[in-house]
């Protein structure tokens, strides 16, 4: 009897809710309060920070040397030729001389820049096969529509719209030592991709001979050469591992974009960078842009600690800092003005 009583009392005791702070909603809490001192000092601090960063960014952006040459119009005849797709086998070259008034110190990077080319279209971005590019399954072209298979049903390698539309101009920079002798500026084609892209995302099929490995596939319709012929000298740069190919495959976010093409190899005359003088770009014009009213240009640029030219960020920081300071001064004014009134109100 007593045992039973005890049990029932225990049972009923257990129905008593726990007295934990969580369950009783009495957790110790810190209340965020917008005090005048906190807010104003926060604003002033942010203002200082933004202004500082902004000025640093602007200064470093100013230190960058950059030169951009649009060559769609300059090479107008080539552009016209390329408008007709049937002329794909006719070579067209174009030379663009220019004068570099100042030495470009340090590392110099060469980019190609496209205007109005939409690499960010939904179907375009999807139109690639990562498993094919990984070299594991060359025939996996399922996600590559509308460039998955050729007319006779052979899978395309590399398949998809991105690969098919690869930028295929060749740009060679020559330096005119004097009026008669010009030398080709030594450029590195390696080291222009992400490590993860080159060593994780893109792999050639495992085989000694690439052309055999790619047997049973066909080249994309717009390509002149097969994928295993992209760089016959350097097997590390051939097939899917071709740096230019990898760079192109990393789709751009906006219709106007520049992609890294070559790095200056700082040897001979160029150990300090690109000396001032006369140069020319020798371009093999293959990539048609006038069809979609696009333009292309070639860009030479140096870098700073934060990367390439970034005036926008610097300006944005400076403006933000300035506005924050303005805001904090006006807020302080309003606060001081109201303080007397508020005290009066509370004392009542």
């Amino acid at each position: 009897m007593t045992a039973k009583m005890k049990r029932t009392s225990e049972e009923s005791q257990s129905r008593l809710p726990d007295n934990s702070a969580l369950k009783q909603q009495q957790l110790p809490a810190y209340r965020l309060q917008l005090t005048a001192t906190g807010v104003l000092s926060g604003f002033f601090a942010t203002g200082v920070f933004c202004l500082g960063v902004g000025i640093i960014l602007i200064l470093s952006a100013k230190s960058i040397k950059e030169i951009e040459i649009k060559y769609t119009k300059i090479c107008g005849n080539c552009a016209k030729l390329r408008e007709d797709a049937t002329n794909f086998d006719k070579e067209c070259t174009c030379s663009i001389p220019f004068y570099l008034s100042e030495t470009m110190q340090g590392n110099v990077y060469m980019y190609y820049k496209l205007y109005g080319f939409y690499q960010n279209l939904y179907r375009y971005i999807l139109s690639r096969s990562n498993s094919q590019l990984l070299g594991t399954d060359l025939k996996d072209v399922g996600t590559c529509a509308p460039f998955s298979k050729s007319h006779d049903g052979t899978p395309i390698a590399p398949c998809g719209a991105i690969a098919n539309s690869i930028f295929n101009d060749t740009i060679i920079l020559s330096y005119n030592l004097n009026s008669s002798i010009s030398i080709e500026v030594p450029m590195l084609r390696s080291g222009i991709t992400w490590w993860t892209d080159k060593y994780v995302k893109f792999q050639n099929p495992r085989s000694k001979n690439l052309s055999i490995a790619f047997a049973g596939t066909t080249k994309p319709p717009s390509w002149v050469k097969s994928v295993y012929e992209l760089d016959k000298e350097d097997p590390e740069n051939n097939g899917f591992l071709n740096d230019d190919f990898i760079v192109w495959m990393r789709a751009a976010a906006f219709p106007t974009f520049k992609k890294l093409y070559r790095r200056l190899n700082r040897i001979q005359y160029f150990t300090e960078g690109l000396p001032a003088g006369n140069y020319s770009f020798n371009i093999t014009y293959n990539f048609p842009v006038t069809r979609f009213r696009g333009e292309k240009s070639v860009v030479l640029s140096t870098l700073t600690w934060s990367g390439g030219s970034n005036l926008f960020l610097g300006l944005a920081y400076t403006v933000t800092g300035a506005v924050t300071w303005l805001a904090s001064f006006s807020m302080m004014a309003i606060h001081l003005m109201l303080k007397d009134r508020k005290m009066f109100f509370i004392q009542q």
């Binding site: 007295n19 810190y30 990984l134 509308p146 222009i192 976010a253 030219s309």
Partner: protein, 1175 residues
């Protein structure tokens, strides 16, 4: 169909029972019911419902289809299904289907699990009820059977204090003449005991063998929900006996003071009146739900607009640019024109932009509510130590609605009151007893009371009786004749029956708890009512037995409001003892001792001011001669054929005059703990409280006063008791006119309400400044609730500060709630404890059941259950407020973050040829809401803020990325890096926003906010890891992105700038708002801070002053007729009957007269079984 919709129809037909019919799915319409006792084969052919009740919705097989069907009736679920189907169309799909199906399945599963659990508990409680044991007479012997196996036509035996298992025809009982007492509180809320009588032919069937041979057949009306009427006929042995409600025991009643009884099951299970009265379970929605649905619709409209803009953009782009771009990306085979492409992109954008209203919104809202309901369950302050019951949130979906309650509908008995009557004070010949004084002579408050009075001198005393004032006992002990006479009156003048099982163990069967309390008081003070016969009353007066000869009982009724007995004491002196309402009795007193009269009146006022129920006691000596003449006149009057009642009344009137005042009693109808305080607080919070009770008007009004709903400061208390439509209309009109004519009224030019369209009324009436209260009785309410008067009623009632509806049926309760719900558009809460409150609880937006009582129906129907009325305060004002605030902030924040998230796609559309390209990795899209919805957070924010944020989070990275390169010279502005940057800055901005909006930073907030950031980065790196890519190269295409992008200082600078620019204006705005226009809560908070510094002075609660209106009355829950019952000796045991001279009137004529009296009196729904409710 819901209950309230059915109701007007039912009421309209109430007068004609045969036409009332019920659909029976298997059998068609039941015209009449036939049930033959002890003949299961015969009864089976009618396929009557069994006694098994089912409140559950599903079984294992039907669960999935039915539940899914129900869930897809939700607009949101169907919308997401539609989205899912859209996503399965390859031309349209811009997001993979799993972004929708994962959350959709999750939502459906969670809801299904919840529904399943709910239903499981319903099954369990059904099972529990269905398996209650009852004794069924099967093949000549009593067998224990669970309730569900009881069939129509079975004879079952009930024992004292058992619940009645089904609607029974009472056959016989342990009490003489087949009488049986029941308590119907569960059914109609009336607390007095009721008497039922078996029809004479069956009342002798006391033993099993005779009952087993009983083969009478009952033919009666089909099942209906009228609790107070029953018409049927019993055919037995070629005789035809009419049956009425007086012969019925209804399911839900409890047998009291009756050792056993036998009954024939007439209605079982769902056909019982109890079940017929319980409305169907209805899915309750909160106003936030509705708001959310409207919001979602608006947002959907907004979404369509954006979709149209983007689709037009797409068509133009495809026409201008896309056609030329076909060499690089030919159109899809299905697309033949720019226009069609635009059309497809519309749908694609609908899919992308649907993240504005993600399905997880619904999940998170449910999760938050679930959390809140757990907080309610866990609340220690809502735990009742006495009953050991914690509060229970039975519905998890209503928590924020609690903060919006405007009307509270409360039951009285068991909810506001404990239904315990306590003899608390009395006034004996001008001296008041019962106040407790402390040492210094001040009136002591509760909790500092001294020891209660010791009644050990009296061996017959009731141990449970407690009285605090020792001076009264001293007065009795010292032989104060007034005190003796006072208690003598209490021990003689009543209709209580006594039972003495063992020597000295007295049990009183009181018809009303008030009377019981008075007789018990007399018992403890040494005047023990011991036993009675029809002609005598034996009282132990201070230890010696005295037998009085009972000459007459002048019984109570509603008009007389008093009762008297005429007794002859052993010395032969005849004396009339009378007790009754002061208003009535004070006029009938002998005017000589003026002083005594005035002091007693003062005492009465004092008692009434404390909310006690008072009675005045008086006596009168009669001489033999006068009595003889009067007895003669009375006999004549009672034999009169016409207007017998009136003649009797005037005879009674004659003798009850010139009485000598003895004193007054004050009975406390014990309120539940903390009721007046709670009501005061709720009223302060502008919550209107209506009391809906089945009890009598006087009782209800009295309780209204004692719980401070009604006060004497009130300008006026309107009482509507009209019996006809016109009377009620007139009374309501007068009430309104008074309110408007009063000097407080604002609209003075307002003359006659009826001349104006009723729509104009509220504006005028709501401006009424005086404090009014409305008391309306059930029969008036029946008229007031008719379609043409309900608005008038509602307006009148809503202008009053307190409304009390008495004598209402369960369905009327629901009707009143429905009325307010429908026309006031306010959130209603109904609180009750009994089965009679079930329909009201189900109708109201929020139903609260008082748990820990005997019956559990109310709790089962309720959304919240706790054991004390006072917890309502915490439920509404603490939990309700908190959950409402949290929910609002959550919703604002949720919409903010999703707008910020989604609008980025919109801006990106202008840069990607409107090709429905998403900005983010689709995993991020899927996870965004899942990771963040685990934060039940406080937030403030509006849509435009969301758009503002989206502009910044898109365009700042855009500006930066357009030019910038990585620090190794390679391209920065690739799509994937951009996606990561925008997503990261969005997550950080949104987290900072949450941090700003979090009112109180607890450990949990820290955990969730930092945790969600950590989880974001963890998931980001995991999704972009080599391992996942190696396994699923086509799914995880962002490999290496996180480490490459987030290693760039430019990216971090961009994120920092975005965050700063997004957050600074918000902080500045809030800061300025705080300084310029502090909100109420800000001011309170600030002044609290100031107060704290100034050492806050204590605010004393204003003591409620004593008031002076008098609310006296005879034991109100008393029913007349018992006096006659006693004098006729009907309810005496046979043994005691043998001693007494037996009455000559047959029992059927007694019943006749009882019934006639009842239908004449008051005409309340339960009193007039044969009287249609509408004239």
């Amino acid at each position: 169909m819901t209950v309230p919709k059915e109701m007007p129809e039912k009421w309209a037909r109430a007068g004609a029972p045969p036409s009332w019919s019920r659909k029976k799915p298997s059998w068609g319409t039941e015209e009449e019911r036939r049930a033959r006792a002890n003949d299961r084969e015969y009864n089976e052919k009618f396929q009557y419902a069994s006694n098994c009740i089912k409140t559950s919705k599903y079984n294992i097989l039907t669960f999935l289809p039915v539940n899914l069907f129900e869930q897809f009736q939700e607009v949101a679920n169907t919308y997401f299904l539609f989205l899912l189907i859209l996503q399965l169309i390859p031309q349209v799909s811009s997001l993979s289907w799993f972004t929708t199906i994962v959350p959709l399945v999750l939502v459906l599963a969670i809801t299904a699990v919840k529904d399943a659990t709910d239903d499981y508990f319903r099954h369990k409680s059904d099972n529990q009820v269905n398996n209650r044991q009852s004794q069924v007479l099967i093949r000549g012997s009593l067998q224990q059977e669970p309730w569900m196996n009881v069939c129509v036509g079975d004879i079952i035996k009930l024992e004292n204090n058992q619940f009645v298992a089904a609607d029974l025809l009472l056959l016989s009982s342990s009490e003489p003449h087949g009488l049986c007492y029941i308590e119907t509180a569960e059914l109609d809320g009336e607390t007095n005991m009721k008497v039922r009588q078996a029809i004479p032919v069956t009342s002798e069937l006391g033993d099993i063998s005779r009952l087993a041979k009983f083969d009478g057949e009952v033919v009666c009306e089909p099942p209906n929900n009228k609790l107070d009427r029953f018409s049927g006929t019993l055919y037995w042995k070629e005789s035809k006996i009419p049956l009425s409600n007086q012969n019925m025991l209804l399911r839900g009643c409890v047998l009291r003071n009756t050792e056993w009884c036998f009954g024939l099951v007439v209605f079982a299970g769902p056909d019982t009146k109890l079940m017929q009265n319980s409305g169907r379970t209805k899915f309750k929605r909160t106003s936030i739900d509705r708001l959310m649905n409207t919001l979602v619709l608006w947002i959907f409209g907004f979404l369509v607009c954006m979709g149209v803009i983007l689709a037009i953009g797409n068509a133009i782009w495809e026409h201008e640019v896309g056609t030329r771009f076909q060499a690089y990306l030919p159109w899809d085979e299905a697309v033949d024109s720019a226009f069609f492409s635009g059309f497809l992109s519309f749908w694609s954008y609908i899919i992308i932009l649907n993240t504005v209203v993600p399905i997880s919104l619904y999940v998170s809202v449910e999760v938050i509510r679930l959390g809140h309901s757990y907080f309610i369950n866990w609340d220690k302050k809502m735990f009742c130590a006495k009953k050991r019951t914690p509060a229970e949130a039975r519905t998890t979906t209503l928590s924020e609605e609690l903060g919006q309650v405007e009307y509270v509908f409360s039951d009285k008995t068991g909810t506001l009151t404990q239904n315990i009557m306590v003899f608390s004070k009395c006034s004996v010949s001008g001296r008041s007893y019962g106040d407790v004084f402390d040492v210094l002579g001040h009136k002591a408050e509760l909790g500092e009371r001294p020891e209660p009075v010791d009644f050990s001198f009296n061996p017959l005393a009731d141990k449970k009786f407690v009285f605090w004032d020792p001076s009264l006992l001293e007065a009795v002990k010292t032989g104060d004749p007034h005190a003796h006479e006072f208690f003598r009156l209490l021990s003689l003048c009543h209709t209580v029956m006594s039972e003495e099982k063992n020597e000295g163990e007295l049990y009183y069967k009181a018809q009303s708890p008030d009377e019981g309390a008075l007789v018990t008081a007399a018992r403890n003070f040494g005047f023990v009512f011991r036993s009675r016969t029809p002609k005598t009353i034996t009282v132990h007066e201070m230890g010696t037995a005295v037998t009085y000869q009972l000459l007459a009982i002048l019984d109570f009724n509603n008009i007389r409001k008093r009762m008297s007995v005429i007794v002859r004491n052993p010395e032969g002196r005849i004396r009339l003892y009378c007790k009754g309402a002061d208003t009535i009795l004070l006029d009938r007193l002998h005017p000589s001792p003026q002083e005594l009269l005035s002091t007693t009146t003062d005492h009465l006022n004092e008692y009434a001011g404390e909310g006690l129920r008072t009675l005045v006691l008086a006596y009168k000596d009669l001489d033999e001669e006068y009595y003889g003449g009067w007895a003669q006149r009375r006999l004549q009057a009672s034999l009169a054929q016409d207007s017998r009642e009136d003649r009797l009344a005037s005879v009674y009137e004659e003798v009850e005059s010139d009485m000598v005042l003895l004193g007054a009693t004050a009975i406390e109808d014990k309120l539940q703990q903390g009721v007046p305080e709670t009501i005061a607080l709720l009223t302060l919070a502008n919550i209107k409280i209506w009391v809906l009770t089945g009890d009598k008007q006087e009782t209800a009004v009295n309780i209204g006063y004692s719980c401070k709903m009604l006060t004497d400061d009130m300008t006026e208390v309107f009482i509507v008791t009209g019996h006809t439509v016109l009377e009620v209309r007139e009374e309501l009109r007068k009430a309104r006119e008074k309110m408007l004519d009063s000097p407080h009224a604002v609209g003075n030019g307002f003359t006659c309400p009826e001349k104006r369209p009723s729509a104009k009324l509220p504006s005028v009436l709501e401006a009424v400044a005086g404090e009014y209260a409305l008391v309306i009785s059930g029969h008036s309410l029946a008229h007031a609730l008719e379609a043409d008067m309900e608005l008038e009623f509602l307006e009148t009632a809503c202008a009053c500060r307190a409304v009390i509806c008495c004598r209402v049926t369960p369905l009327q309760k629901a009707q009143v709630v429905e009325l307010v719900k429908k026309h006031k558009k306010a959130v209603t809460l109904a609180i009750g404890d009994g089965a009679n409150d079930v329909s009201m609880i189900k109708t109201a937006h929020i139903g609260v059941g008082i748990s820990g009582q005997e019956g559990i129906q109310a709790v089962l129907a309720s959304d919240y259950a706790f054991s004390q009325f006072k917890f309502l305060q915490r439920l509404l004002l603490v939990h309700g407020r908190w959950s409402y605030l949290r929910m609002c902030k959550f919703l604002c924040y949720f919409f903010y973050k999703n707008f910020a998230f989604t609008m980025v796609h919109f801006w990106f559309g202008f840069f990607c040829g409107f090709s429905a390209q998403t900005v983010y990795d689709q995993y991020f899209i899927t996870l965004y809401n899942i990771v963040y919805t685990s934060l039940p957070v406080l937030a403030m924010g509006v849509f435009d803020q969301g758009i503002y944020t989206s502009v910044l989070t898109f365009f700042i990275p855009y500006g930066v990325f357009a030019e910038a390169t990585r620090d190794d010279g390679s391209q920065l502005a690739d799509y994937q890096s951009f996606a990561v940057t925008v997503a990261t800055s969005l997550v950080i901005v949104v987290s900072v926003q949450i941090g700003l909006d979090t009112g109180y930073w607890t450990a949990i907030n820290h955990f969730f906010i930092w945790g969600s950031l950590a989880v974001y980065f963890a998931i980001l790196f995991a999704m972009h890891s080599n391992g996942l890519f190696d396994m699923f190269p086509n799914q995880f295409r962002f490999v290496g992105n996180a480490q490459n992008t987030l290693a760039q200082p430019t990216v971090w600078l961009t994120i920092a700038l975005t965050t700063a620019v997004c957050v600074m204006p918000v902080v500045a705005f809030r800061f300025l708002k705080l300084s310029l226009k502090p909100g109420l809560s800000d001011t309170v908070r600030y002044s609290q801070l100031v107060r704290k510094k100034q050492k806050a002075q204590h605010r004393c609660l204003r003591r409620v002053g004593r008031t002076s209106s008098r609310r006296s009355g005879y034991a109100f829950s008393h029913q007349e007729g018992f006096g006659e019952l006693i004098m006729s000796g009907k309810n005496m045991r046979l043994s005691s009957l043998a001693l007494a001279g037996f009455t000559t009137r047959s029992s059927s004529s007694w019943l006749e007269s009882l019934r006639r009296k009842k239908s004449d009196s008051a005409g309340s729904p339960s009193a007039g079984p044969d009287k249609p409710l509408k004239g």
